[in-house]
């Protein structure tokens, strides 16, 4: 797809999501959805420098807060409409990005990351001591009830969500455009080998400055509507570790080298943390993110996208075919449901009665089985089909026990669906043409026999 077409499609998708959400009509959906979409922007922005160029930025919160405090400043000095604030925040954060980049990009690896962390500390100290924007006690930003958009009266939270959705569409489109352009090639050479890049005529310093500026500007834009959304901003949380950690974890879990990696990662992780906030507590968020991050770094260092690509390369060296894509679909389902199951089981653990504990335990076992079988299916070269089959077969047994222990109508239908998927997966795994995907392993076994 050409860039303008993709851009139009992305905007269209954003508008469609908004319309569907508006038809559902739940205010909480907008409130939670805003955070998820905000992370799409942050993850895409982080990935331009961290994923494409290989420079790990720990200062996401600094750029985000810069955008937020630009809004606070103008809210007090001269209230402006949000789209204008977005442009100003982009300018301010972009300039700071450029300046930081110029000062720090001669540092490599961990030293660059430490410098970005220092930037966050410096900016936070600056804001804490700046009384006009509230200092350390914070500032209230009262949002209007509704806003007039082309003659429509729109609820303000919905209006902010719409803006954030459009911003997400723009940042994803920019990521994709960069990836397929000359600039994208240049960024990748910086990530791979800067010395060789220079020798091939790539002006590395200039490209890195472009990346920091662009990345900083988008992070600032993500932060600009934030004060209106949250109503009260104070330095400690606006500069919080959560933004930095999430902005790194999301692209890493999704996959850093392609534009849809951060998109997948942020939707998955963003939704997960929102669910965990409601069902368990907001403090568990970061723990979940941390555990997933550690898991992925060990098991799939190139993220979900890397895992799937590796699988497709191993399973069908030519073009991806129906059976391998079918396996990917089944594995992804097992993985996502497994992760969600962990979250819901943890929620059950917060109310510890005998049935609850047993349900939670069964749920955790089931979740592990699903995740493990999903992983097993994705790494065919190392796993025999037997292992994935056993994992799925066990999940049916555990699922049945689960239903028996907790016989409410809702759970029966839920677990019934899960069991059905496990049975279909089992049948699928035993098909001859799927078994052939494991051929290297099978022939090895035959030779041994």
């Amino acid at each position: 797809m050409r860039n303008p077409t993709f851009f139009a499609a992305a905007i269209g998708a954003a508008a469609a999501v908004f319309i569907v959400a508006a038809l559902i009509g739940n205010d909480y959906l907008f409130f939670a959805g805003y955070t998820v979409v905000q992370y799409i922007v942050l993850a895409a922005a982080w990935n331009m420098l961290g994923g494409y160029c290989g420079y790990v930025n720990f200062g996401t919160a600094a750029f985000f807060a810069l955008g937020a405090y630009t809004t606070v400043f103008f809210h007090k000095a001269y209230p402006l409409p949000i789209p204008v604030l977005l442009v100003i925040a982009a300018g301010v954060s972009g300039l700071v990005g450029l300046g930081t980049g110029y000062l720090t990009l001669r540092l490599r690896g961990a030293f660059f990351s430490i410098a970005t962390l220092a930037l966050a500390v410096v900016l936070q100290t600056f804001v804490v001591n700046w009384d006009y924007v509230g200092g350390s006690r914070g500032a209230y930003v009262i949002r209007p009830d509704s806003v007039d958009v082309f003659g429509f009266q729109l609820d303000y939270v919905r209006y902010l969500s719409l803006i954030m959705l459009l911003l997400a569409a723009v940042s994803v489109a920019i990521s994709r455009a960069i990836e397929r352009s000359k600039l994208g090639y240049g960024f990748a050479t910086i990530r791979d080998d800067e010395l060789a890049a220079e020798a091939s005529g790539v002006p590395t310093l200039r490209l890195k400055l472009i990346a920091t500026t662009l990345s900083g500007a988008l992070m600032g834009m993500a932060g600009a509507p934030f004060p209106y959304y949250i109503g009260y901003v104070e330095p400690a949380s606006t500069f919080g570790l959560t933004y930095a950690v999430n902005a790194i974890a999301m692209p890493l879990i999704g996959g850093t080298t392609v534009w849809f990696g951060p998109l997948i990662g942020s939707i998955l992780l963003g939704t997960l943390t929102q669910i965990a906030t409601v069902t368990i507590s907001s403090a568990v968020n970061l723990l979940l993110v941390g555990l997933l991050l550690v898991g992925f770094v060990i098991v799939a260092p190139n993220g979900l996208v890397g895992l799937i690509r590796e699988f497709l390369r191993a399973a069908s060296p030519g073009r991806p075919d129906v059976r391998s894509i079918g396996l990917v679909a089944v594995a992804s389902y097992g993985f996502i449901v497994g992760v969600l199951e962990v979250v819901f089981s943890l929620a059950a653990l917060t109310a510890p009665d005998a049935t609850g504990l047993m349900l939670a335990f069964a749920g955790l076992v089931l979740a592990c089985l699903w995740i493990v079988s999903a992983y097993g299916m994705m790494t065919l070269q190392r796993w025999s089909p037997l292992m994935a089959t056993i994992a799925f077969a066990l999940s049916i047994v555990v699922g049945a026990i689960h239903i028996w222990a907790d016989r409410t109508a809702f759970n029966i239908s839920l677990w019934g669906a899960g069991g059905a998927v496990a049975i279909v997966s089992l049948w699928f795994l035993q098909r001859r043409y799927v078994q052939q995907l494991y051929r290297p392993k099978l022939t090895e076994l035959e030779v041994a026999a």
Binding site: A188, A196, G201, V202
Partner: protein, 244 residues
């Protein structure tokens, strides 16, 4: 023949160690120059100073009448001064074909003032792959290549910048007899198309076959410069190589 590259009084030290000590060197357009010297004699440091990877402390490097001092490496590549690395440094996340596209996009296209179309880039990339014999590997990743192919890729990437002067830094180390001949033939073919080549090499057979002129570096000094047959009979060169 006019001098394409002129080096005068080039000096570089690392702390107290003098790596290059007043090197004077001229390379004429269209020449095939061999550069030899024992390990640690400063050959790679010289290449790094010529190409801008390291900054020289004394002396000047002049390329086509332009003084290069202080100029970053990528600008030198764009001017037409390309090098290959002693240990291949491919872009690991890109396919072989994409590796070659980088200099085409960033050096050649720049020289053509952005007039290089996507089709032309593909075409030149294809041509280069054919020239070095990597057509079958175009879609492979560098990690899947053999050592020979990796060295060919390294050389091809330097060639892709369409340089006026190509510096091949030990492009043949560790290769077999016939593979060395392949690469020497490739470099000679490149030279016949008008590219000046400096070959840095330990394999004497290759150097003697390739070079029109031979320069010897020992401990950061140039001790000989002349016709290959005469240079290797020079008593000072014999002493440096064989010891006495």
């Amino acid at each position: 023949m006019s001098a394409l590259l002129q080096v005068s009084g080039l000096g570089k030290r690392f702390g107290g160690f003098v790596a290059l000590d007043g090197i004077d060197l001229e390379v004429a357009e269209g020449e095939r120059l061999g550069l030899i010297g024992p390990n640690g004699s400063g050959k790679s440091t010289l290449v790094n100073c010529l190409c801008g990877t390291l900054a020289n402390e004394h002396g000047t490097v002049t390329f086509e009448g332009r003084v290069l001092n202080g100029m970053p490496a990528h600008t030198r590549t764009r001017l037409g001064l390309a090098r290959s690395f002693q240990l291949p440094r491919p872009f690991g996340s890109m396919s072989v074909a994409d590796n070659l596209k980088v200099p085409l996009l960033y050096a050649v296209d720049r020289r053509a003032h952005g007039h290089l179309t996507a089709a032309q880039t593909e075409e030149r990339c294809e041509e280069l792959l054919r020239l070095v014999g990597l057509v079958d590997c175009a879609r492979k990743f560098p990690r899947d290549l053999t050592q020979v192919d990796m060295r060919k890729l390294e050389l091809a990437r330097a060639m892709a910048a369409e340089p006026k002067l190509l510096i091949a830094d030990e492009a043949m180390a560790g290769l077999s007899h016939s593979e060395v001949s392949d690469i020497v033939a490739l470099l000679i073919r490149l030279n016949e198309r008008g590219t000046t080549v400096i070959l840095i090499e330990h394999i004497m057979r290759a150097v003697m076959h390739f070079s029109q002129r031979l320069v010897v570096l020992v401990s950061g000094r140039k001790i000989a410069d002349g016709k290959p047959e005469e240079v290797i009979r020079d008593p000072e060169v014999e002493r440096a190589y064989l010891g006495q």
